[in-house]
C-alpha cells in the first residue's frame, strides 16, 4: 500500500512539473490566468458587495456570516479551479474523441491521471484571496474561534471539496452512457451560481430538498461555516456525512461502470 502511495505521489510530482513546463512555454498563457481569474473574482466581490449592502439579513445570518460564507464557497471553488477543474472538464471530450483509450492503457488510475494532469496555478491567487475574505469575515463577526471549531471547519471543508469534485465527475461521466452532457453542465453551473450567492439556510421546502440532497451545492459552504459559528447540530452533521458518502458511492459506481461501458470512438 505504501509503495502504491509513493508511486502515485511521484506521478503527481511529475504531472505538476510537466504542467508547469507546459504553461511556461507561453508567457501569456502562464501569466494571463493570474490576471483574468483575479479580475473575475474582483467583479464577483463587487456584485456581492452591491447585493449585501442592500440586504441586512438572510435567514438568521447577517453581514459577517455572509462574508464568511462567500469566502468559504470561493475557497472551495478556487481549490477546484487550481487542482482538478480543467482536468475533469476534459473528460467528455476524451470519451467522445476516443482519447480515453490512452488513459485506460496506463498502469495507473485513469481518473487520477485525468484529474491531475491539468492543474491551474493561475487560480492560486483566488485561494489566497478567499482565505483573506474568510479571515476578514471572522474578524468582522468578532467571534472567538476555538481549536475544535477550526478543526471541524477544516474537516468539513475537505469533505465539501471532495463532494464538489464528485459532482463534477458524475456530470462529466454521463457521456460514457449518453451522447451529450451539455445540459447537465448548464444545470450544474446554475446550481453553483445560485448556491454561491445564497447560503443553504435560505432554502426551504422543495428547494431545500434539491440543494441539500440532489444537487448538494447548498450544503457545501454552509456546513463548514455553521461549524465555525457553533451552529452545527448532530442532525446536520449526519446529513452532511450521509450526503458525502452517498455521492462518493454514486461517483465510484458511475465512473467504474462508465469505464466498463466505454465503447471507444472508432479510429
Amino acid at each position: 500500500m505504501m509503495g502504491k502511495i509513493k508511486r502515485y505521489i511521484k506521478v503527481l510530482r511529475e504531472l505538476v512539473r510537466i504542467r508547469f513546463q507546459n504553461l511556461m512555454m507561453f508567457r501569456l498563457g502562464f501569466f494571463g490566468p493570474f490576471f483574468v481569474d483575479g479580475s473575475l473574482f474582483a467583479v464577483q466581490l463587487v456584485v456581492f458587495d452591491a447585493v449585501y449592502s442592500n440586504v441586512d439579513r438572510i435567514g438568521s445570518w447577517g453581514r459577517g456570516e455572509m462574508i464568511l460564507f462567500i469566502g468559504t464557497f470561493s475557497f472551495i471553488n478556487a481549490v477546484n479551479m487550481v487542482i482538478y477543474f480543467f482536468g475533469v472538464n476534459d473528460i467528455p471530450a476524451k470519451i467522445k474523441s476516443g482519447q480515453m483509450d490512452l488513459y485506460l492503457t496506463k498502469p495507473i488510475s485513469p481518473l487520477f491521471y485525468i484529474t491531475l494532469e491539468r492543474i491551474n496555478p493561475g487560480s492560486v491567487p483566488l485561494v489566497l484571496m478567499s482565505i483573506c475574505i474568510i479571515v476578514y469575515g471572522a474578524k468582522d463577526l468578532g467571534i472567538a474561534i476555538s481549536g475544535g471549531k477550526l478543526a471541524g471547519y477544516l474537516i468539513w471543508l475537505v469533505f465539501m471539496i471532495v463532494l464538489y469534485y464528485e459532482m463534477e465527475i458524475i456530470i462529466r461521466s454521463v457521456p460514457f452512457y449518453l451522447v451529450s452532457n451539455a445540459k447537465l453542465e448548464q444545470l450544474e453551473e446554475a446550481g453553483i451560481d445560485l448556491c454561491m450567492k445564497l447560503p443553504g439556510i435560505a432554502f426551504y421546502g422543495i428547494y431545500k430538498l434539491i440543494f441539500y440532497c440532489i444537487l448538494p451545492y447548498g450544503i457545501m459552504a454552509t456546513l463548514p461555516v455553521q461549524t465555525l459559528l457553533g451552529e452545527m447540530s448532530l442532525c446536520k452533521a449526519v446529513h452532511g456525512l450521509a450526503i458525502f458518502m452517498i455521492f462518493t458511492g454514486i461517483t465510484m459506481f458511475i465512473w467504474k461502470k462508465g469505464v466498463r461501458h466505454y465503447n471507444s470512438a472508432s479510429s
Binding site: 506521478v11 510537466i18 507546459n22 498502469p107 471507444s264 479510429s267
Partner: protein, 349 residues
C-alpha cells in the same frame, strides 16, 4: 507458451437508426430503432510468445476493435479472452504494465514539451528504477537514431520522427506484447521502412511479441511471418504471410524494350497485353509461364527487360474478395448440410 487466447470472441455494437426527415426524428423521440453491428464474430485465436503477427483487413473489418479488446479498452460482448493470464477488461495495473499500445492516430506525447519530459512521466507511471529507465532510453534512442531529438519540442518533429518517439515511449518499460495500430500511417517510404526495421529488431533482440495492424501490406510482408486476414468481423485467413502471398500473387508483369519494331511478335493467348508501342511491350503473364515467355522474347534481342510481381493493391483486393467468397461458400455449405440434417432429424422424429 500462449500469451493470447480467445475463443468465440464476439463484439457487438448497437447502432441507432433514424428514419428520414423531421417526421422520422419526431417518431424516434418515442420509439427508437437500433440495429446490432457485429464488429468481431466468434473469433478463435492463439498467439505464442515472441511472435510477430500482422492483422490485415479492409476498413470496418474489426482490426482495431480486436486490438481494443486485447488491451482491455473495450469489453467483449461474449466469448473468452485471455491475455498474459488476465481478462483484459478488468484493467488491472499488473496487466497494463506488461503490454504497450501505439495508435497511429492518437499521440501519447505532450506536444509542447520534449520527449524527455514525457518519458520522465512514463518512468513514474510504470514505476521504473532510474538505472532501468536510463538503460532502456539509451538502447532505444540509439536503435531509433534519435539521440539529437530528445530535447526538441515534440510539435516541431516530423511525422516519422514523432512515430519513432511514440514507439520509444511505448517500449520504455520493456512490455511483453506491443500492439501497433497503423504505425506507419501517413509516413513516407523511407520513414516507414525505418520503422519496420526497428520493429523487427525489437522483436528479435528484446523478444517483444508484436501484433501489427496495418492497411499497408508492405508492413505485413516485411515484418510478419504469420498474418490474419479479417473481413466483416470474421477471420478469413490465419497462416503464413509468405503462403498467403504465394497463393494470391498469380501474375508477373513483364516490360520489354526492343531496339527494333516489335510488331511481328506473336504471343500466346494466355498473355495479356497491357500496353504496346512500336518498341515496347508491357505484358501480364501467369507466374508459372513467365519463364517460357521470357525465353521466347529473348529471340527478339530486347535491350531491356523488367519483371515485376503483381501490384500489392491488386493482391490485397484479391485476397479480400476470394477469401470472403470462400468463407461464404463454406458457410452456405454448412447451412445446407445443417438444413439437410435438420430435415433428416424431422423425418426421424
Amino acid at each position: 507458451m500462449n500469451i493470447i487466447e480467445t475463443k468465440n470472441l464476439t463484439k457487438t455494437y448497437r447502432r441507432f437508426i433514424k428514419p428520414e426527415g423531421l417526421r422520422g426524428s419526431i417518431k424516434s423521440l418515442w420509439n427508437r430503432e437500433y440495429v446490432e453491428k457485429t464488429a468481431i464474430k466468434d473469433f478463435d485465436f492463439t498467439m505464442e510468445e515472441g511472435e510477430l503477427i500482422g492483422l490485415i483487413g479492409p476498413n470496418g473489418a474489426g482490426k482495431t476493435t480486436l486490438t481494443k479488446m486485447f488491451t482491455g479498452i473495450i469489453a467483449p460482448t461474449s466469448g473468452e479472452i485471455n491475455v498474459l493470464g488476465y481478462y483484459p477488461n478488468d484493467l488491472r495495473n499488473q496487466f497494463k504494465k506488461q503490454y504497450a499500445v501505439v495508435m497511429g492516430q492518437k499521440s501519447q506525447l505532450f506536444y509542447e514539451l520534449t520527449v524527455n519530459d514525457t518519458l520522465r512521466l512514463f518512468k513514474e507511471i510504470y514505476g521504473l528504477e532510474e538505472r532501468q529507465f536510463q538503460a532502456s532510453k539509451a538502447y532505444f534512442t540509439e536503435l531509433f537514431e534519435v539521440k539529437d531529438l530528445m530535447d526538441v519540442q515534440v510539435r516541431t518533429l516530423s511525422l516519422g520522427e514523432r512515430m519513432k518517439m511514440e514507439l520509444i515511449a511505448a517500449l520504455l518499460h520493456s512490455p511483453k506484447i506491443l500492439f501497433l495500430d497503423e504505425p506507419t500511417i501517413g509516413l513516407d517510404a523511407i520513414a516507414a521502412g525505418q520503422i519496420r526495421r526497428f520493429l523487427s529488431e525489437v522483436n528479435r533482440d528484446r523478444k517483444t511479441s508484436i501484433i501489427l495492424t496495418s492497411h499497408y501490406m508492405e508492413d505485413i510482408k516485411a515484418l510478419c511471418s504469420r498474418c490474419l486476414v479479417l473481413s466483416h468481423g470474421s477471420k478469413l485467413y490465419d497462416g503464413g504471410t509468405g503462403e498467403l502471398f504465394e497463393r494470391y500473387r498469380r501474375n508477373k508483369k513483364i516490360t520489354v524494350t526492343f531496339s527494333i519494331r516489335a510488331d511481328g511478335i506473336e504471343l500466346p493467348s494466355y498473355v495479356q497485353i497491357l500496353k504496346k508501342t512500336p518498341d515496347k511491350l508491357i505484358l501480364q503473364v501467369p507466374k508459372e509461364r513467365a519463364g517460357g515467355i521470357l525465353s521466347e522474347l529473348m529471340h527478339y534481342s530486347p535491350v531491356d527487360v523488367t519483371v515485376e510481381e503483381d501490384e500489392i493493391g491488386v493482391v490485397v483486393e484479391r485476397i479480400y474478395r476470394e477469401e470472403l467468397e470462400e468463407t461464404q461458400e463454406k458457410n452456405h455449405g454448412t447451412k445446407e448440410k445443417k438444413a439437410i440434417s435438420d430435415a433428416d432429424g424431422g423425418v426421424w422424429e
